[in-house]
């Protein structure tokens, strides 16, 4: 359990590390070029590991709905946005605001897709996140 918890924390660290490295590349090139390198290097790496381990085309991937294939182009914009933002507002604020956007849109997607959920927890969670964004934007001039 401690082992898996360490891996989960490490995964979060790597998300931030990846954004910093891509952000540094964007400083020398452009946000879109850093997103291109992120994807092609990641593709080569995953292809290599998948060839070693095997099972890339296991299951029935051809049965998945067509829209499930749209994650790639969306990811390109996502990585480019992160690379552009990190040099401007810092790693912590970039991460925090992306998390805020992910959480609130996640609640909206759940509601749209009819996923079961606790109304009170959703309301409280979204309210706290919005309050945090208001504070981050300078709603409280305590600094």
């Amino acid at each position: 359990m401690i082992w898996f918890a360490t891996l989960a924390i490490l995964a979060g660290v790597l998300v931030s590390l990846s954004r910093q490295i891509n952000g540094r590349l964007a400083l020398s090139t452009s946000a879109m070029e850093s997103s291109f390198w992120n994807h092609i290097v990641g593709l080569v790496f995953i292809t290599g590991v998948a060839l070693l381990v095997g099972g890339l085309f296991a299951g029935e991937p051809e049965a998945s709905p067509w829209w499930a294939y749209l994650g790639g182009p969306i990811g390109v914009i996502f990585i480019a946005a992160g690379s552009w933002l990190i040099a401007r507002i810092g790693a912590a604020q970039t991460a925090l605001l992306i998390i805020a956007g992910q959480m609130i849109s996640g609640v909206l997607l759940d509601i749209i897709m009819g996923a079961p959920g606790n109304l009170w927890a959703r309301t409280l969670g979204v309210a706290l996140i919005m309050a945090g964004m208001w504070v981050a934007h300078g709603g409280k001039k305590s600094s």
């Binding site: 049965a63 956007g101 409280l124």
Partner: protein
Amino acid sequence: MSQPSQPNQLIYFAAAFGAGGLLSLMVLFNGTLAAYGSLFFASWVPHLTGTVAALIFLVFLRPKRAQQARPPWWVYLGGVSGAVTVMLTSATLNSALALSGTIALGLAGQMVFSLFADMRGLFGLPQRTPVRRDYVALMFIIAGSLILIFFGSGS
């Protein structure tokens, strides 16, 4: 982050918040791929289509390059870090941590390392010292996120 809020600050806020929305869609789309194919497939496909999409964007938008000087070699390795992340989370998703524990611990790791990186100005990015307002915002957003992760879905 210690600088006073400027008009552009709102653009950055909107961009980061919108990027979070894109991330939700990615999780949904790639998660659907993983439900039909392997976890490798669910990461391999978006990297492949993403590479093509990025090339198309580069050809049509022709963004200006910031510097002529060559960056250090390691700046091209961000994709490896991202690909390893997918492998780590697919391992922890199937452990007792499940989805909620994986996301919650990932948020913790991401925020602690981001704050550390800002304070030290790691990887040639601007150094920033977080102020009290940043920590207050952090507590609100993480508290709200944890409530959504652990109590928001399911019964």
